[in-house]
């Protein structure tokens, strides 16, 4: 990745009450942004499909009487990424990374392209963005970063271990970043949602008990953020579930495949 130059051109002062959502079309990112808008935050949505995000931005402004803006960003396209980081010349109070790609496990087992795509979208591509804002926030000694990972990152399973591995990397990355930035008054929060009904998961069946509602999850994220909770597993049932799964001996875990 090419470094973004001309950093001195940036408006380095942390903007009060601006929340930037990377993945402005993701259901989870959008739902969380509504919570912050309700709290008076100006909302910036960055992602693909500007026209879609513009509709959401208008809705946010109409409902909560806060400013909203949209920014074109395709994280799979290096030029688009650099252009975004260059043109977005400010430091928001909160950055939320909400891009996720479930991918196709079976395809990834035989195709390095699909495997790379899963790892890159969920993990690698976020690095330049998070680095960029983390460094600026560190300098300001002010800011918040919320990284949406997944409970799938807690233990790799046969059905989705490419996705799980990438999410696991996010968890470790966020953990390290949190430790580093804790010295600079920058708060890093990891959110590990369980199964939530969104467009990413629309074709997957799951027992009703384990299906999270995206609006409720967003409320949980918001209230946990206010309490400065560092790691949030939500919905609550997944905390119980993974308490069990994480403590299963590997020999037993292997046998649980389906």
């Amino acid at each position: 990745m090419e470094e973004v130059k001309n950093l001195d051109k940036f408006d380095k002062k942390t903007k009060s009450k601006v929340c930037l959502v990377i993945g402005g079309n993701s259901d989870i990112g959008k739902a969380i942004s509504y919570k912050f808008a309700e709290d008076g935050y100006e909302i910036h949505l960055a992602g693909r499909s500007i026209s879609e995000m513009e509709r959401t931005a208008k809705d946010i402004t109409n409902r909560y009487e806060v400013e909203s803006q949209v920014f074109d960003l395709d994280i799979e396209d290096n030029a688009s990424l650099n252009n975004f980081l260059y043109s977005y010349n400010q430091v928001p109070k909160i950055v939320i990374y909400a891009i996720g790609y479930l991918g196709h496990q079976k395809l990834a087992e035989n195709s390095i392209d699909e495997a790379n795509r899963i790892i890159n979208i969920n993990f690698t591509y976020q690095i330049p963005i998070i680095n960029h804002f983390a460094n600026l926030m560190e300098e300001q000694k002010n800011g918040n970063i919320i990284i949406i990972s997944s409970v799938a990152g807690l233990r790799g399973r046969a059905t989705n271990y490419f996705y799980g591995a990438s999410k696991s990397a996010m968890i470790a990355f966020a953990s390290g970043l949190r430790q580093r930035l804790s010295l600079s008054n920058v708060f890093v929060m990891s959110v590990l949602p369980g199964f939530i009904r969104t467009k990413m998961t629309q074709d997957i069946e799951a027992p009703k008990l384990f299906i999270g509602d995206v609006v409720k999850v967003a409320s949980k994220v918001f209230s946990a953020f206010k309490k400065k909770k560092t790691v949030l597993i939500t919905p609550f049932i997944y905390r119980l579930l993974f308490l069990v799964i994480n403590n299963l001996p590997e020999k037993l875990f292997i046998k649980l495949k389906k």
Binding site: N25, D27, R55, T56, K58, N62, K199
Partner: protein
């Protein structure tokens, strides 16, 4: 996934597609062969059912609000509850609302809904300024009174059959209060009731509850409920307190005796209070406090029969209908009478000037037989039935009662020649 309308009849398996990505929706519409847009499924029977339904519920964004011109643009899946919550603190309200707030904007347009103020302002469709529609071809078009006028007139009241309503702009009403001064007038007979409607026509809001368990001299007795908006500048949103009926009542729970009991009880309670102040929620949406009240009819479900007949035929029609009901030993749990003002020019719009009566019947062996008999009375008195409530009318009956049907069919054949937008109802009635 199993879905049904508010009457729980019929209940079918449907692939429900719910998305907020417009390009994805366009893609589905281009590729699939037969589907119907759906919302909160408050139409009573099969008008929003098909093997594939395109749910609008994730499309609920408010795209613009202009408080000077009193116009709002929203996506079609927004509910009236959501709209009211947005509008009330600003001193506005939806211009027309049916007796439940759990409907979507798209549904309100597709059914061209009416409310307690119909005799003064007409239907919801009268307030719609423009609509953006995804056609069967996947193309997105605008329509209004000035542009694509025929499509506009077919879409309002069009039961979702002209295309998928993406968003719409409509005029909202300015309110001076969320409180209503309510006056009730008791009628001891049908004659008295119809006269009361006449006498109090100047009230902005009117609706009557009718006791259908009484025949003979007090046939048609009931209570006329009149409302007027206060001017006290109080704009209050009530917290959501709801009683949830989460279980199905057994099919026999509603029988002749319980219905009679309920009706007599209602009648005697309503005598006591003549005038009172009611919040908009209680005034417009009395049944919404009981969510899923439809479950009291049990698993078999129920049908609602709502007809309108011209004023001059009203008395004899209602009397005949009640007699048929009596001969079938049925009575309606909740019966609502209302006077409609002038009709409009939307092709499949229901209201015509005259009286409209809505009755609920649990589905029993003889229910459909009884309704067929009632149809004969409605037909011979130049009446018609409300598509949004209908579960069973015949194609012939429908064709001879909706006078603008051919205009609708003509537009439909141009914009959707393969009938991709279709529901169980539209197939049944050949709409």
């Amino acid at each position: 996934m199993k879905i049904s309308g508010w009457g729980n009849y019929p209940c079918i398996d449907s692939e429900v597609i719910s998305t907020n990505q417009i390009y994805y929706l366009q893609d589905i519409i281009r590729k699939k062969q037969s589907f119907i847009p759906s919302g909160l499924l408050r139409s009573y029977s099969d008008s929003s059912l098909n093997s594939t339904t395109l749910s609008s519920l994730k499309l609920n964004r408010i795209l613009s609000f202009d408080n000077i011109n009193q116009a709002i643009t929203c996506e079609s899946g927004i509910s009236f509850q959501d709209l009211n919550n947005f509008l009330i603190p600003k001193g506005f309200f939806v211009p027309v609302t049916p007796g439940t707030k759990f409907i979507t904007l798209g549904g309100a347009i597709a059914s061209d809904v009416h409310g307690k103020n119909h005799h003064k302002v007409g239907t919801f469709g009268n307030f719609v300024q423009s609509i953006r529609l995804i056609l069967a071809s996947g193309e997105i078009i605008d329509c209004s009174r000035n542009y694509n006028q025929d499509i506009f007139k077919a879409t309002i009241s069009g039961m979702g059959l002209t295309g998928f309503i993406l968003d719409a702009t409509f005029r909202v009403q300015k309110i001076k209060s969320t409180n209503f001064s309510v006056i009730t007038k008791k009628a001891n007979s049908l004659e008295e009731m119809l006269e009361l409607f006449n006498e109090y026509m100047y009230y902005d809001y009117s609706v009557a509850w009718m006791d259908t368990s009484e025949f003979g001299k007090s046939l048609g007795r009931g209570v006329l409920i009149l409302g007027k908006e206060l001017e006290d500048n109080s704009f209050e949103l009530l917290p959501n307190t709801k009683l949830n009926m989460s279980f199905m009542f057994p099919n026999f729970a509603l029988n002749h005796i319980t219905i009679k009991l309920f009706n007599s009880l209602y009648n005697s309670i309503s005598y006591k209070k003549n005038d009172f102040i009611a919040n908009f929620d209680k005034f417009y949406y009395p049944l919404d406090i009981l969510s899923n009240w439809n479950k009291i009819y049990g698993k078999n479900g129920f049908v609602q029969y709502q007809f309108v007949v011209p004023r001059e035929h009203s008395y004899k029609t209602i009397k005949n209908i009640m007699q048929i009901m009596k001969s079938y030993k049925q009575s309606s749990f909740l019966t609502v009478l209302k006077f409609f003002g002038k009709s409009n020019d939307f092709y499949l719009s229901f209201p015509e000037e005259g009286f409209t009566l809505a009755m609920d019947f649990p589905i029993r062996i003889n229910t459909f037989d009884m309704l067929n008999k009632m149809d004969d009375v409605i037909l011979s008195n130049n009446g018609k039935l409300y598509l949004t409530k209908d579960a069973r009318m015949s194609k012939e009956f429908f064709e001879s009662t909706y006078s603008n049907l051919n205009k609708f069919r003509e537009i439909k054949s141009i914009i959707d020649p393969n009938n991709k937008f279709s529901s169980l109802q539209s197939k049944r009635l050949g709409i």
